[in-house]
Amino acid sequence: MPHPQHLVNILTGIKGAMEMKDATPLAKIIKKAERPLLVIGPRALEVEIEGRPFIEYLVDIAKAANIPICATAHTKKKLLELGMTPESTYDVVEIVNALKDAEWKGVKGEGCHDFVLFGGIRTDLGNQALSTLKHFAPHLKTMTLCKYYYPNANFSLPNYKKEEEWKALLEGLVAGLK
C-alpha cells in the first residue's frame, strides 16, 4: 500500500517492524546485542514445523548464541523436559513490565536486556506486549521469530505462507549464531 501524504492516516500507527526475510543480517543483529533475552511462549509447544515442535528450534537458537530464556505461561515444564532450564518464569506481561524498566537487573542479575527475542506468544497478545515495549522501552530492541508479521516489534519475520521458508530461516539463524 502506498503511504498517504500525512503518515498518521495509516493503520494503527506509523512505526512498524522491519520485515526480515534473511537469516544472515538477523544473526548479525543478535550477535551485536550485549544482553539478549529469549522469551518463549506456549504456542511454541503446539506449533510444529515439519513435524518438529517450534520450541526445539527456539532452544537451538538459545543454545547457539548462549541466550538466557524467560519461559512464559506453562512452557517451563517442556523446556525442562528438553534439558533446558529457563533463567526465569513469568507471564508475558510480567516480563514486559520488568523490561520496561531500564534499571531492572535482568534475568541474570547483570542488568536490563538490550535485545529481546520472542517466540510462541499468540499473535494478539504478542503484538500488545510488543506495543508496550515499543512505546515505553526505548532502551531495548525487539524481534519476533513466529511465522507472522508483528508490526509492533523492531524486527519481525514476514507472514510465511510456506513452512519450509520459515524452517529455512530458523535453521539459517541457528547456523549463523554458532
Binding site: 506509523i14 505461561a73 497478545l125 512505546h135
Partner: protein, 765 residues
C-alpha cells in the same frame, strides 16, 4: 463538589437521621473523594499500558501520532491517552448497566409503585451492600434504588466530561476516574438486580435453585419458538406472563441467549437456555426461532438481516437498540402481527406488554407456516459426511482456524467427537460450507451435532445469603477456605467452554468457593464428565467450600463484590455505611477473592473488573484481554510492600507481594490457574490458612510447570507457613534462596500509609 449545601443535600438523600450505622467519611463520593485511595493502590499496582493504537483521532486537531515520547496537538501523551480510552470504556460499560437499571426500575415502578419494598427473603438482611457502602443509604424501596442510579448517572457526566480534549491529562488521574465510575457500575448493577429480584420475584434466600435445560437439543422445534436475546428481562417476563395467562406455557417454547436467558430461567423454569452470547449468530442462522425478541446489550447488529434470511421476525424492545425499525407500539396488535406474518416485517415495540402479546401471537401464526427441517440424526450425518473428498478447502477458510475438514472425515468414519469440538468453537459464519466443492452441508451437520446434546444450568440465585457469610466469613479471612474464585462475564473465544469448565472443576475440587455469572455461568454447564454429569450436577450450589454457585446474569456481578463487603460487615463487624475506603482496604488485605474474566470482550467487562479492583479484588484476564490496553501490575521484588500494623500502629515492611497484581492477563489456562491460586494469598492469612493456600499454589505449579514455584520464598513468612506435604523440599529451596523469616501481621492495613481522613482505628471493630 464540596460545600455545606452539598453536604446537606447528601444527608437528606441518605437519610442521615436513620441511625442504622454511623456515617463514614465518604457518603455519595464525588469523582475525587477516593482519589487518594486510588493513588495509593496504583502506587503498588502501577498501570501497565499496551496501546492498541498509537494514534488519537478524538478531535479535529488530529489524528495525532503518540508513539513513544510524541505528544498530541493538545499535549497529551500515550499513557494518559490509554487512561483516557480505558476511562471511556469503563464509562460505556457502566452506562450500559446504569441504563438497564434506570429502565427496569422505572418499568417496575410503573407496575408496583415507588414505595414497593425491598425484601430479599429471610436470609438476606444486608440487601444492598454496594449501595450501603458507596452512598451510605440503606435502600428500602424501588424509589431508593432509583436514587442510587441517579447519583451514579450524575457522576458519569463528570467522568465522561473529563475525557474531552484539554481536560484530564494524567494517566493515574484517568485511572482514578475509571475506578470511580467502575465502583459505581457495581452500584448500578446492584440496583438493577435487586429491582428485578423483588419486582419479578426471582429466587432469593435459597441456594438450591432448580436446574434447567440448556442447549438447543432441549428445544422442541415442533412448537412455536420465541428466542429472547440480550440482558433485560422486562419483555421476556411479560412473554411468560402472557403465556401463563393464556394457558400456553406448554405450547410455546421460550429460549434465551446471553443474560436474558439467565433472567428468564429465574422467572420460569420452563424456559430454556440456548447458550452464551457466542452461540447467537449460529442459533439465529439455524432458523429454529420463529420470533426473536431483542432487548439490550451484546445483540448482534446484523440480527434483522440474519433473521430475514431464515424467515424469523425480530421485535426490538429497547430504546438503546432500535435498529432502524419502525415503532409500532401504538398500532393495534392484529395489524402488527399481520405485517409480521404476511410480510416478515421486523418492528420496534417499546411497550413490553405489547411486545409480549405480539411476540406470542406472531409466533403462533408464523410457526405453522415455516417448514422447520427435522435435525439430521447421527446415521444420516455420517452418510452426508461421506461426500467429503478431503480437499481441505473448508479448513482453509475458517476464520477461527478450526480443523473442519479432518473433523468431517472423522464424522464419516462414525466418530462425531472432533466435529462436536469444531462446533463448540464455531462462530457460525458458514464460510466452510460455502467453500466446499463437494457440497457437504457442513453448517447443517454442525446444527445436527448441536442438537444431539443437552446440558444443565443451575438457575441464578442472586445475592449470597447473610447466613452463608456468617458461616464462611471466618474460614475465608483466616485462609482455611483457600479462596473465592469468581468466573464472570463473557466466554467468547475458542476453547473457552472447556477451559472455563476445567478451571471451575479444578478449584471446586480443591474446595475453593466458585461463583459464576453471565455467559460463564452457562458455559460451564456445557461440559460433561465421564459419567455424563455437568458441573452443576457434580457440585452443590452453596456458597461454601467446594460449592459452585450461579449468582445470575451480568448485573448479578454486584453480588460478588457485595459478598466481599458483607464479609467485612457481617463477619468483621465493620460498618458499611459510606465507608468505602475501610471496606476496600479490608477486602484487599484480608479477603482471598479473585475474579476471572476469561473470555471478556465487552466494555461492561472492563468496568466490572475495574470496579472489583477498586475494592481490592484482583482480576485474572484471558490472553486476548491485553487489548483492553491496561493492567494493574506490581513488581514483586522492586515494589514497596509496607503496610500499617493496625494493632501496633506501626509501619511494617512485610516484604510480601500479596496480592501480587490487581489486573493481569495470563496466556494459558494452566498459567491462569497457578496465578489464581497465588492471588488468593493475603497478608492476613493465619499460618494454617497460609499452609493450605501454599499447598494449592505449589501443587498447581508443580502440575503445570514441573518444579516448585520460583517465587515461593516471597510467600513464606515463617516456617510454620510451609505445607506439611512439601516441607522437606521447600525448606531446601528456601535455604538456597537465602530466605529469612518475615513479619506476620494480624491486622494489615493500607490506612495510615497515605493521606486520608480515615483513622487507623476505623479498621478495627
Amino acid at each position: 463538589m464540596k460545600g455545606k449545601r452539598k453536604k446537606e443535600e447528601k444527608e437528606k438523600i441518605i437519610r442521615a437521621e436513620d441511625e442504622w450505622e454511623p456515617i463514614g467519611h465518604t457518603p455519595m463520593p464525588h469523582v475525587t473523594d477516593l482519589r487518594n485511595w486510588d493513588r495509593r493502590l496504583l502506587e503498588t499496582y502501577k498501570p501497565f499500558y499496551a496501546p492498541f493504537c498509537d494514534l488519537c483521532c478524538l478531535c479535529t486537531y488530529g489524528k495525532c501520532d503518540l508513539t513513544g515520547t510524541n505528544r498530541g496537538a493538545c499535549g497529551i501523551d500515550i499513557s494518559a491517552q490509554q487512561g483516557r480510552i480505558v476511562t471511556l470504556a469503563c464509562c460505556m460499560g457502566m452506562s450500559a448497566h446504569a441504563g438497564h437499571a434506570a429502565h427496569i426500575i422505572d418499568y417496575l415502578i410503573e407496575k408496583h409503585g415507588e414505595d414497593y419494598p425491598i425484601d430479599l427473603g429471610d436470609q438476606v438482611n444486608v440487601e444492598c451492600p454496594n449501595i450501603r457502602t458507596v452512598l451510605g443509604l440503606k435502600p428500602k424501596t424501588l424509589r431508593d434504588l432509583k436514587t442510587a442510579v441517579q447519583y451514579a448517572a450524575e457522576q458519569l457526566v463528570h467522568v465522561v466530561s473529563s475525557t474531552h480534549t484539554g481536560q484530564e491529562g494524567d494517566a493515574v488521574d484517568y485511572e482514578s476516574k475509571a475506578l470511580h465510575i467502575s465502583m459505581l457500575d457495581h452500584v448500578c448493577m446492584e440496583a438493577a438486580d435487586v429491582a428485578q429480584i423483588i419486582g419479578f420475584k426471582f429466587p432469593t434466600s435459597v441456594a438450591d435453585t432448580p436446574l434447567v435445560d440448556m442447549g438447543w437439543g432441549s428445544i422442541d422445534r415442533k412448537k412455536p419458538v420465541i428466542l429472547v436475546v440480550g440482558h433485560n428481562p422486562a419483555s421476556s417476563s411479560e412473554i411468560i406472563d402472557y403465556l401463563r395467562n393464556k394457558g400456553l406455557e406448554d405450547k410455546v417454547e421460550v429460549a434465551g441467549i446471553c443474560c436474558t436467558a439467565l433472567e428468564t430461567t429465574r422467572y420460569s423454569n420452563k424456559a430454556k437456555v440456548v447458550g452464551p452470547l457466542s452461540r447467537q449468530l449460529f442459533f439465529v442462522r439455524a432458523g429454529i426461532a420463529d420470533v426473536i425478541v431483542a432487548d439490550e446489550q451484546c445483540i448482534r447488529t446484523d440480527l434483522t438481516d440474519e433473521a430475514s434470511k431464515v424467515g424469523s421476525v425480530v421485535i426490538a424492545s429497547s430504546d438503546k437498540a432500535c435498529r432502524g425499525l419502525e415503532e409500532v407500539s401504538d398500532k393495534p396488535t392484529d395489524e402488527v402481527v399481520k405485517a409480521m406474518v404476511d410480510k416478515g416485517e421486523h418492528c420496534l415495540i417499546l411497550d413490553h406488554e405489547k411486545a409480549a402479546e405480539v411476540a406470542v401471537e406472531a409466533a403462533l401464526k408464523i410457526a405453522p407456516k415455516r417448514k422447520k427441517e427435522e435435525p439430521i440424526d447421527e446415521k444420516k450425518a455420517i452418510e452426508l459426511a461421506k461426500a467429503c473428498a478431503a480437499c481441505g478447502s473448508c479448513t482453509q477458510v475458517c476464520p477461527n482456524l478450526l480443523p473442519v475438514g479432518p473433523a468431517i472425515q472423522k464424522l464419516a468414519e462414525g466418530d462425531a467427537e472432533p466435529f462436536k469440538q469444531v462446533f463448540e468453537n464455531c462462530i457460525g459464519c458458514g464460510k466452510c460450507e460455502e467453500a466446499c466443492p463437494h457440497g457437504v452441508p457442513i453448517f447443517k451437520l454442525m446444527q445436527a451435532v448441536a442438537s444431539w446434546d443437552t446440558w444443565k444450568c443451575r438457575v441464578g440465585r442472586g445475592p449470597v445469603m447473610d447466613t452463608e457469610i456468617r458461616k464462611v466469613g471466618a474460614p475465608i479471612v483466616l485462609g482455611t477456605i483457600p479462596g473465592v474464585i469468581a468466573l464472570v462475564g463473557c466466554s467468547n473465544f475458542p476453547n473457552e467452554i472447556d477451559e472455563i469448565a476445567e478451571m471451575v472443576d479444578e478449584f471446586a475440587r480443591r474446595k475453593y468457593i466458585v461463583v459464576l455469572t453471565g455467559c460463564s455461568a452457562m458455559t460451564v454447564g456445557m461440559r460433561k464428565d465421564k459419567e455424563g454429569k455437568t458441573i452443576y450436577e457434580k457440585y452443590p450450589g452453596d456458597f461454601d467450600a467446594g460449592g459452585v454457585v450461579n449468582i445470575g446474569s451480568c448485573v448479578s456481578n454486584a453480588h460478588i463484590t457485595g459478598a466481599a463487603m458483607k464479609i467485612a460487615n457481617i463477619f468483621a463487624n465493620l460498618p458499611l455505611r459510606a465507608n468505602y475506603e475501610v471496606i476496600a482496604d479490608y477486602v484487599l488485605n484480608r479477603v482471598g477473592a479473585v475474579g476471572v474474566a476469561w473470555g471478556a470482550m465487552s466494555q461492561k467487562a472492563a468496568s466490572i473488573a475495574t470496579g472489583c479492583n477498586r475494592l481490592g479484588i484482583p482480576v485474572v484476564l484471558g490472553p486476548h484481554s491485553a487489548k483492553y490496553r491496561r493492567l494493574y501490575l506490581s513488581r514483586k521484588e522492586e515494589g514497596d510492600w509496607t503496610v500499617m500494623d493496625g494493632r501496633k500502629k506501626e509501619l511494617v515492611d512485610t516484604e510480601e507481594p500479596s496480592p501480587e497484581h490487581l489486573a493481569i492477563v495470563t496466556e494459558s489456562k494452566e498459567r491462569a490457574m497457578v496465578m489464581i491460586a497465588k492471588l488468593c494469598i493475603r497478608k492476613n492469612d493465619t499460618q494454617p490458612g497460609r499452609q493450605i493456600k501454599l499447598n494449592h499454589y505449589i501443587d498447581l505449579y508443580k502440575k503445570f510447570f514441573g518444579t516448585l514455584p520460583d517465587d515461593l520464598h516471597h510467600f513464606v513468612r515463617t516456617e510454620r507457613d510451609i505445607p506439611m506435604f512439601f516441607k522437606k523440599e521447600v525448606k531446601q529451596f528456601l535455604q538456597e534462596k537465602g530466605w529469612k523469616p518475615k513479619p506476620v501481621l494480624s491486622l494489615p492495613t493500607l490506612i495510615g500509609t497515605y493521606e486520608t481522613e480515615v483513622p487507623v482505628e476505623a479498621t478495627i471493630r
